[in-house]
């Protein structure tokens, strides 16, 4: 039954992907890519990857669609006919596909518990996590503690992307920035009653859910990245409904810039504190007298750092795109 459902979703994925590539209208392509992300999130869930499904849904179907739409508003809405057809591209793609399919013929059967993936290091993590870290969500344990250094690098990647976008789009557009007298009455969707009402009802709950995902990430699917994306989505919704100016009152730019740097600083700071207390960099066991409690405190702090940075970057990118607009 489950596999039939999976095949159904995979077929939908294929159709959606073909439609994305074929459609000339970029708006349609972007909306379809949001649907594509949601379908992939569903398949991730069917494959027991709950954390990944949550992240893909929040980031891929939510934030990514918003950023693409923002970029579309600033560029073009339709794609033009290519001047020459390129059969070479199709040939290259087909050859690559054949080589890849040939490569997958040697992989173990799907779901085989004796596959090499399952038998070398995975059982060690699954057995030892209750002993060393004692939190139910093994994915968060591996992400935050065993591979915490990699996650620090990931936070720096997000930070760099945020800084990059701010460098590219920080200065006002050469067309001239909007006059300060652009009326706040027309901002956002203030004239539309239903989106405003529904949005006002939903935004507090979305924020609450984001905070829940942030702090409950050790017990259920969740963690800093998902929470950052969800909280950023709530603020973006507010900006869409009430106008960007009011969203900037809620979280002004200086605060967002501070969040971008502050989250990464928090993460690295926890690592340095561990060094000062006598352990290795990012070895949380030395943070408290009981090493297991130290690990849990360390995870809580670094996940908070991750969430702060991700929220700051996503909101800064959104505001950078929005400030370029002509309206």
């Amino acid at each position: 039954m489950v596999s039939l459902f999976s095949i159904f979703i995979l077929t939908l994925l294929l159709i959606t992907a073909l439609a994305i590539v074929q459609s000339r209208n970029l708006f349609v392509a972007v909306m379809l890519s949001g649907i594509f992300s949601l379908l992939i999130a569903a398949i991730f869930f069917l494959l027991d990857a709950a954390d990944v499904a949550l992240t893909e849904a929040a980031v891929g179907a939510g934030i990514s669609t918003v950023l693409f739409l923002g970029a579309l508003a600033l560029t073009a809405e339709r794609e033009q006919e290519p001047p020459t057809n390129r059969p070479v591209a199709l040939v290259v793609v087909v050859m690559t596909a054949l080589v890849l399919i040939y490569g997958t013929l040697g992989t173990p059967r799907l779901g085989d518990p004796n596959a090499p993936v399952q038998t070398h290091v995975s059982p060690w993590y699954l057995e030892q996590t209750p002993h060393y870290i004692d939190i139910p969500n093994v994915v968060t344990a591996v992400l935050g503690s065993y591979r915490g250094y990699d996650t620090l690098g990931e936070v720096f990647v997000v930070l760099t992307a945020g800084i990059g976008v701010l460098f590219l789009l920080g200065k006002p557009s050469p067309r001239g920035s909007r006059g300060p007298e652009s009326s706040a009455e027309d901002a956002g969707l203030r004239h539309y009653l239903i989106p405003r009402l529904v949005g006002r009802l939903l935004i507090p709950f979305i924020l609450l859910f984001g905070l829940y995902v942030q702090f409950h990430g050790e017990y259920s699917p969740g963690g800093g990245f998902q929470a950052g994306a969800i909280i950023a989505a709530a603020i973006i919704l507010y900006a869409l409904l009430e106008g960007e100016a009011r969203a900037l009152l809620v979280l002004p730019r200086w605060l967002l810039t501070g969040m971008i740097a502050g989250g990464a600083l928090l993460y690295g700071g926890v690592g340095v504190v561990c060094l000062l207390l006598g352990g290795n960099f990012l070895d949380y066991s030395v943070l408290m007298s009981d090493p297991v409690a130290g690990q849990q405190i360390g995870l809580l702090l670094i996940e908070a750092g991750v969430g702060i940075t991700v929220t700051g970057v996503l909101l800064s990118v959104f505001h950078a795109f929005a400030a370029r607009g002509e309206y």
Binding site: V21, A29, T75, Q80, P82, A89, N137, E154, G164
Partner: protein, 102 residues
């Protein structure tokens, strides 16, 4: 593969970025399917349930990082596309090429 075709063959820059994110999502799918164990559950311990098979958490951690890095590159790429549009007036690859090499 379809995403790969979009990146290579479509001249519109935004379409290329959409194709890139399709491509990335497909690769993530490949990794996650490798981690699945038949009849197992997600690698989250529930109180009171002992001795269950769990799917491997390691590919999931890798893909979590990859998803976030992917969105970062997409955001940066879109920023670059916006700047290109402002400087060149177009985001079709062949037109940009003509402007650069008249």
């Amino acid at each position: 593969m379809i995403g790969f075709y979009a990146v290579v063959a479509k001249p519109n820059l935004v379409k290329k970025l959409v194709g890139l994110s399709l491509f990335q999502a497909a690769v993530f799918l490949l990794y996650i399917t490798m981690g699945k164990v038949e009849g197992a559950m997600a690698p989250i311990f529930m109180a009171g349930i002992e001795d269950r098979l769990y799917s491997s958490p390691l590919p999931q951690v890798l893909i979590l990082t990859a998803i976030v890095v992917g969105i970062s590159t997409t955001a940066l790429g879109l920023g670059i596309v916006i700047r290109i549009k402002e400087e060149y007036g177009t985001i079709e690859e062949h037109e940009i090429h003509e402007i650069d090499h008249p």
